[in-house]
Symmetry: C2
Amino acid sequence: MTNSPVATGVAGAPVVVQAASAGEVLSGYLHAQATEFLRSLRLHAESGSDAEDAGEAARLLRRSARRIGGTLQVFRPLTDVTWTDPLRGELGWLTDVLGREHAYAARLARLRGALHRLSGADAEAAGALTVGAARAGALLDRRLTLARTRAHTAALQALGSSRFHAVADAVAVLASEVPLDPAARDLLAGEALPCLAEQAQRRLTDAVELLPLAVAGRPYNAEALTLGLAAAPAADSPPPESRQDAPWHHARRLVRLRRYAQEVLDEQHQQAEAEPSLSVRLLGAGQALDRHRDAAEAAAAAGAAARTPRIAPATAYALGVLHADQRHEVESARYAFGRIWLRVTTGVGP
Amino acid sequence: MTNSPVATGVAGAPVVVQAASAGEVLSGYLHAQATEFLRSLRLHAESGSDAEDAGEAARLLRRSARRIGGTLQVFRPLTDVTWTDPLRGELGWLTDVLGREHAYAARLARLRGALHRLSGADAEAAGALTVGAARAGALLDRRLTLARTRAHTAALQALGSSRFHAVADAVAVLASEVPLDPAARDLLAGEALPCLAEQAQRRLTDAVELLPLAVAGRPYNAEALTLGLAAAPAADSPPPESRQDAPWHHARRLVRLRRYAQEVLDEQHQQAEAEPSLSVRLLGAGQALDRHRDAAEAAAAAGAAARTPRIAPATAYALGVLHADQRHEVESARYAFGRIWLRVTTGVGP
């Protein structure tokens, strides 16, 4: 496998041998991602006390971990699943634990941005921020900074754990030799890979068909805030809105898998016959659903902060405004996704 | 003037004499509206203790008062302004004082509806209304019912006042003989009336051109809530959002004037050559701007209720959600108006 038929062309660029096997192309992609993973890990170790460098290294680490995990999922039948399935689970754990610090920081930035927007331009500079908005900002700051610090500690602990070292060892294996199903060596890349990508596409299409796109396509349908004041079943249970968000989050994960599958196909074609417009649309669809997820979680954070005991009514009021504002962002993201999806399925438009 | 050239045709339907003067057509419309006014007044007096009948009579009274005032404004040059200008002012006072009770009732119904929607379907039946939503509802109920009761008393006092009797006497004059400018008798209806309606159209177009329709035309532009948490200059001053709402309210009044002007023109044409699509579009544009005004006032009411001393944080939170929800209704109404306006100006579409 290390003796790949991907030869080096005159300009040093790889040239695909036409009859490449599915296993070879998949290995090529996983090699590259595993190498990225190990490089990011080194960068992280070398970043020392530089928080920005460490953050960037962690981002790159998550990026390749997601791609490896996603690719192993989409092209599962081509791999030695007794070896890849457990790794996939561990990569999920890793991206989750590494992603939380960033997520809390991004959530706080989003809510701060919304507070400033809702206070009018230059309100803070002009001292026109209401007491409620200022206090809500301080409360969110405290809560999310605390959560972020905890997530940072958890991420560092994870990176120092033997569990993580086992993941890194497994990724090092991928960087040299991908454990494949024996059949993958005989299947033609041009046949097997598009077939599995097509299955990922079908799972995505099925999931999107379950979304209320007809409603979401009507602007200002007021659907996302429908449960904005509904009572949660229990004090610690997720907000009632999360029920209506779940199928969108599911679609978000499937868009991502489809996108990684496309990257493998593009690898095979070396961009020559690639469909840049499809990749661009999938990226756009994914970004809309990322915004959906981010806004939903920011709304939940505002709602949770409002349940802090003994806060002032003005603070609670500002958090209520913030919650509704972010739920409208959720609705806006659904609307945007619906429009992009039309272009993904019909292939029409920019 | 009572000897109108509008003769009665074979089927009893009026037939317009081609050479009707502007004064004659205007008088015909004002006669009809003044007669409606006096009839509604009788209905109101006869309604006794039946609140529903009284409410309906007051609505009809306002309806004709608005039409008389609006028509006197648009076709002012055709009237004896020393007599009609003061009446116009008095009709403005009357529609305002009579409209408030209805406005408070409608505002409460709108906010109650929003609270129920935000609590999810059947939340109240299922007892799933949050404490905050239930308390916010009760607080709004108290505040707006009190305001409504005061408005009811004020309306009854107004209807019993000598100031009102003077208005009714003036309307009775309109029902028999409209004080016109002498020139109006010589001007051809088919020339003078469309010219003045065109001026009303131009004032409307000028006002709409000042509206940020480019922003409003992008769904989810988040513009209407921009000042949702901005500090009011002083405790009793109007909410900061009212500054951005004012030009839309101005356009709303001008749409209404244009609509009444169209009714006078249609009267002239007896619907034969009337432009039903223009009337329908003006009605749609007016309804969008009515919704804009209603949602803006409901949002302000939620915000004002949140400044009640010693309310619970959960109540304030629900009022914040409600405020933001209604500001999104404001944004939604602007979006709807923008689309209808395109059809008003281009004449394209349904």
